[in-house]
């Protein structure tokens, strides 16, 4: 059961959790503690042309250059972050759609009365299922499958199983 179960369960779960997966992204729970470093504040570079201020200006210039470099670097990092976040979101979305398709296929197979690999999750019981207690537990039986009710997230679903 394991491999198939895990694939099916994972794919379906991704669909159910798609909302969950990006809510935290929205409020950056995953980035907890990674404080956003704001670029250095622009220094006031007012200098007079007077010679005695030349040294100060020199220092100022060096600082300004450093600041410019730091700000550029920061901007580059932010850009990279944004691109990575976009890619991640796109991947999640694709996964969710794949999971939906997978779930729809499982549902169709279940409705067609085909025996399914144990661990296949369906949103609704196929028609004609009958309550079948085995070993003190309630299962639904139809199409050669035993179904057990489970919560996938907060959604009540059914998973094919082998009663013990």
């Amino acid at each position: 059961m394991r491999a198939n179960t895990r694939i099916a369960a994972t794919l379906v779960l991704v669909g159910a959790v798609s909302a969950a997966a990006w809510l935290p992204e929205a409020h950056a729970l995953r980035g907890r503690g990674a404080a956003f470093a704001v670029g250095a504040a622009a220094g006031s570079a007012s200098s007079s042309a007077a010679e005695q201020q030349a040294a100060a200006a020199q220092q100022q210039a060096a600082t300004a250059q450093q600041q410019a470099a730091a700000a550029q670097q920061q901007a580059a990092i932010e850009k990279e972050k944004a691109v990575a976040a976009q890619q991640q979101a796109a991947v999640e979305r694709e996964k969710a759609i794949a999971a939906q398709q997978q779930a729809a296929q499982a549902q169709q197979a279940a409705a067609a009365g085909k025996p399914l690999p144990a661990g296949t999750v369906v949103a609704q019981l196929p028609p004609g299922c009958v309550p079948t207690p085995v070993g003190g537990k309630n299962y639904q039986y139809c199409g050669g499958n035993f179904y057990e009710p489970v919560y996938e997230g907060s959604a009540l679903k059914y998973v094919t199983t082998t009663p013990k």
Partner: protein
């Protein structure tokens, strides 16, 4: 000063003057002058007010935008009455697409119950509302309505990476005058409507994905805020009625020993 020194000084000064516009331009971008302190301050007020509440109850109405398998956008609606007693009790009674459902958290265990189907499940949970919310979402796959705003000390998290903050204006939400704020960060925009007056409750909260081809949102409208709900600890524990069957959660990931 020697001529040589004077030359160096002049050169450096020229460099400094030339560098200045570059610094200002680059820095302006990195520093996001689009962050309006008034918007940030208003959000902070809201969170300070929320953080100060020991207990509260609120009605939430959620619209979760999603993509149908066909690729078209669809809305999923949910409503819930949420009651929180800090630091470690929460109860949510939901209606909507999932049918009636009750969620309980008593500081030790989270419980989910479908009265119509007469089934429930339980899972050992971390000891605070905040940790439980994370655990419920990441391990159990249960998302609580507007969890972002139920967190204590959420303000710094909300502001993280924010590149734009603006006061959009004012609007009436459920008969309450609210300030409309907009924030943007890489990957997501969020809007918060904050009630005017002495009790700056959130009126509405919308998070919009911006990193995807379809900019999907989760919107929550709040109403009936009550800072003095009649609560007792028994309300946060589920006692299964007779004939109710215990089922299991298909966990998203195995629980971690420390909770988080």
């Amino acid at each position: 000063m020697s001529t040589w020194n004077r030359w160096i000084a002049t050169t450096w000064f020229t460099a400094a003057v030339l560098a200045l516009p570059v610094v200002v331009c680059t820095d302006a971008r990195a520093q996001s002058p689009a962050v309006d302190p008034a918007a940030v301050q208003r959000l902070k007020q809201m969170f300070e007010f929320m953080d100060g509440l020991q207990q509260f109850s609120v009605q939430t109405r959620n619209v979760v935008e999603d993509l149908h398998v066909s690729g078209h956008r669809i809305d999923r609606d949910m409503s819930a009455t949420v009651t929180v007693k800090r630091p470690n009790k929460l109860r949510a009674v939901r209606g909507g697409g999932l049918g009636e459902q009750q969620f309980f958290y008593d500081g030790k265990t989270l419980m989910l119950y479908n009265p119509r189907e007469k089934v429930y499940a339980t899972e050992a949970a971390p000891p605070t509302v905040e940790k439980m919310i994370d655990f419920a979402r990441e391990t159990v796959g249960v998302v609580l309505p507007a969890a972002d705003l139920l967190y204590r000390n959420a303000f710094p998290l909300m502001m993280q990476d924010v590149k734009l903050a603006a006061v959009v204006g004012r609007s009436m939400i459920g008969g309450v005058k609210c300030d409309h704020l907009l924030f943007s960060r890489p990957g997501a925009d969020f809007q918060v409507w904050v009630a005017e007056g002495k009790q700056p409750f959130p009126c509405k909260y919308v998070v919009t994905e911006t990193g995807t081809p379809a900019p999907l949102s989760i919107a929550t409208v709040f109403s009936d805020w009550n800072t003095r709900p009649a609560v007792n600890d028994a309300q946060f524990t589920f006692v299964p009625p007779k004939g109710t069957e215990k089922i299991r959660f298909l966990l998203v990931e195995p629980p971690r020993p420390t909770g988080r």
